[in-house]
């Protein structure tokens, strides 16, 4: 096939996808909005948990010197490249009916997906926070101590001083969570109107040969990511 024809085909898909995306959103397509809702629910939950746990862990790792700090950092840095399907498999092993947490009924639920995504986001938040805290100006701690700050004040003020860096960590982690397929597919099971997320829906539509629908959902996903980043950028300016 000549190159010009390939380019034309791709362009056609994109244009069709763009208009289809608008149509899906405006028409209130139930399956699209259900996937958007599932994506936002799972990712918001996982981000909240990973931020609440990752920020203090990252602070401790970056601020204090202790035994085994380096090996922990190395493991954490390795986990940044954790394949989502591996996380999906591990979580599946734990929450499937034969797994140790099988009785909790988390398999094929959004909570199950959120657990997997938390495992995915936690190393990102922790490692980036630790790196930011490690690079904090040494004069900051001395200033805080000299102004009478206690340990709690030092932790909170240090985190507030590097808030833009932490925001970047959150955005990076959110990007990873929002775009993963492996966990949602394995743990969630891609059940329509229940655990089907944007990414699993795109994979499904593409498998069915409905490229335009897949591209439309991809555009919607990118629009969500753009909206989140735009909001964070606004917060940063504030």
């Amino acid at each position: 096939m000549p190159i010009t024809s390939v380019a034309e085909t791709v362009l056609t898909f994109l244009v069709e996808g763009f208009f289809k995306a608008i149509e899906l959103l405006i028409s209130g397509d139930i399956s699209t909005w259900s996937a958007v809702s599932a994506t936002l629910n799972a990712s918001t939950g996982s981000m909240l948990v990973s931020l609440l746990t990752g920020l203090p862990c990252g602070f401790v790792l970056g601020y204090f010197d202790f035994r085994f700090k380096r090996p922990i950092r190395t493991i954490l840095d390795t986990l940044l490249a954790l394949p989502t399907v591996c996380v999906g498999l591990i979580v599946y092993a734990f929450i499937s009916s034969k797994g140790p947490l099988g009785d909790m009924g988390l398999l094929f639920t959004l909570t199950g997906i959120a657990i997997g995504q938390t495992i995915l986001a936690f190393p990102v938040v922790t490692a980036i926070t630790a790196a930011i805290i490690e690079n904090i100006d040494p004069a900051l701690k001395l200033t805080l101590v000299s102004l009478g700050a206690g340990k709690k004040d030092i932790i909170l003020t240090c985190l507030w001083e590097v808030r833009f860096g932490i925001l970047a960590a959150a955005v990076t982690a959110y990007g990873r969570v929002l775009t993963e397929v492996g966990i949602s597919m394995i743990v969630g099971g891609n059940i329509k109107y229940h655990t089907r997320t944007m990414t699993t829906a795109i994979a499904l539509e593409t498998n069915k040969g409905l490229f335009a629908d897949g591209i439309a959902l991809g555009i919607v996903l990118m629009a969500i990511a753009f909206t989140v980043n735009l909001s964070l950028s606004f917060l940063r300016k504030k």
């Binding site: 100006d137 004069a139 900051l140 001395l142 200033t143 101590v145 000299s146 102004l147 009478g148 700050a149 206690g150 340990k151 004040d153 003020t157 507030w160 001083e161 808030r163």
Partner: protein
């Protein structure tokens, strides 16, 4: 009036960085309400000394007593009473007002914050209306320094430690910083410990002048430091210690019994030219680099440059007149080797 209990009492205080001793003070007191000026070469331990006094770091050995009581870093008692302003103060990424009131807020002392911030900013010569809303990055170096000082003055600390407060500011900012620091002592009896290389500025504000060399403290106007490096020379079977100067000159020193060679200021003579009738062994050409009136005593402070080291002597007006001292004039420094001692 000075309190009978010194604000600081230091006992056998030592601090090491990587095995190197950077502060080594046997015993030292700082009276309450005093202003102590500390100078010394880079790396002599001044900043570490201030951090120890600020209880920002724990000494490797020895103890620091504050108000007669042994204290440690992060102790709630000293946290609210001692404050340190570093050479390049860090301003929090907030507005000027938020920076100034930060210390009060963490103390949960939030009464009349704006009025108090206004007074603190006025004390350092900054207009509240023009500055309180400015962000930390919208200030010049001198303004940032003054905001940092205001953030400390608002706390009305018992001890205010200033590390090179005028190193990177213009003359007007230096004057305002001096004025605000002196006002702190006058208003609530704040004890000031100031490190500076600006000797004239330091002399203008200090009650006591100290020098630091290799982590040790010396009284500036009473003891003159003959700074290292020292060398040995072999004459026949005897080994003598010397301080080498340029052009092959040297200062002869007695046998080494300590780290630093010193000479009492009252054992030093200044001669117009080499006087043969004087039996002193050391005759060192010096250049008069600065003369200033010390307002508190009426004496003349004379800075002399002896090539390998500098020294400051306090002379009476009559002495200075008799020697016809003027900046730029060359004179001879004369002292006996046996008057030099080691510490």
């Amino acid at each position: 009036m000075a309190s009978p209990v010194p604000l600081y009492t230091l006992c056998r205080l030592c601090h090491y960085y990587g095995g190197k001793k950077v502060v080594d003070i046997d015993e030292f007191n700082i009276p309450s309400g005093s202003i102590t000026g500390l100078s010394g070469p880079n790396g002599s331990g001044k900043t570490t000394f201030l951090k120890l006094l600020a209880f920002a770091i724990a000494p490797s050995q020895g103890e620091i007593r504050f108000n007669g009581r042994r204290e440690y870093p992060m102790s709630a008692r000293v946290r609210s009473r001692v404050t340190l302003m570093t050479q390049a103060p860090y301003l929090l990424k907030r507005s000027v007002l938020e920076n100034v009131v930060y210390g009060l807020k963490i103390r949960k002392d939030t009464k009349k914050l704006k009025q108090r911030a206004e007074r603190a900013l006025a004390a350092v010569g900054l207009d509240f209306d023009g500055f309180h809303n400015r962000a930390w990055h919208q200030l010049s170096g001198g303004e940032a320094q003054r905001v940092a000082l205001a953030a400390r003055l608002i706390l009305e600390p018992q001890a205010l430690l200033l590390d090179e407060p005028v190193a990177s500011v213009d003359a007007e900012s230096a004057r305002l910083i001096l004025k605000a620091s002196l006002a702190a002592r006058d208003k609530w009896g704040c004890t000031l410990i100031i490190v500076s290389h600006d000797l004239a500025w330091l002399n203008a504000c200090s009650d006591t002048r100290l020098s630091m060399e290799k982590g040790r403290i010396f009284s500036t106007h009473e003891e003159i430091i003959l700074p290292p490096p020292y060398q040995t020379v072999q004459t026949g079977s005897t080994v003598n210690w010397i301080l080498p100067l340029s052009n092959g000159r040297q200062v002869c020193l007695p046998d080494k019994t300590g780290e630093t060679a010193l000479i009492p200021a009252d054992k030093i003579n200044i001669a117009r030219e080499v006087e043969t009738q004087f039996n002193g062994k050391n005759r060192i050409p010096v250049l008069v680099t600065r003369m200033a009136l010390e307002p508190k005593t009426g004496r003349i402070e004379v800075d002399l440059n002896a090539d390998a080291f500098g020294l400051t002597l306090l002379l009476s007006k009559e002495q200075a007149g008799a020697l016809n001292l003027q900046p730029g004039k060359k004179r001879i420094l004369v002292f006996r080797t046996r008057d030099v001692f080691w510490r």
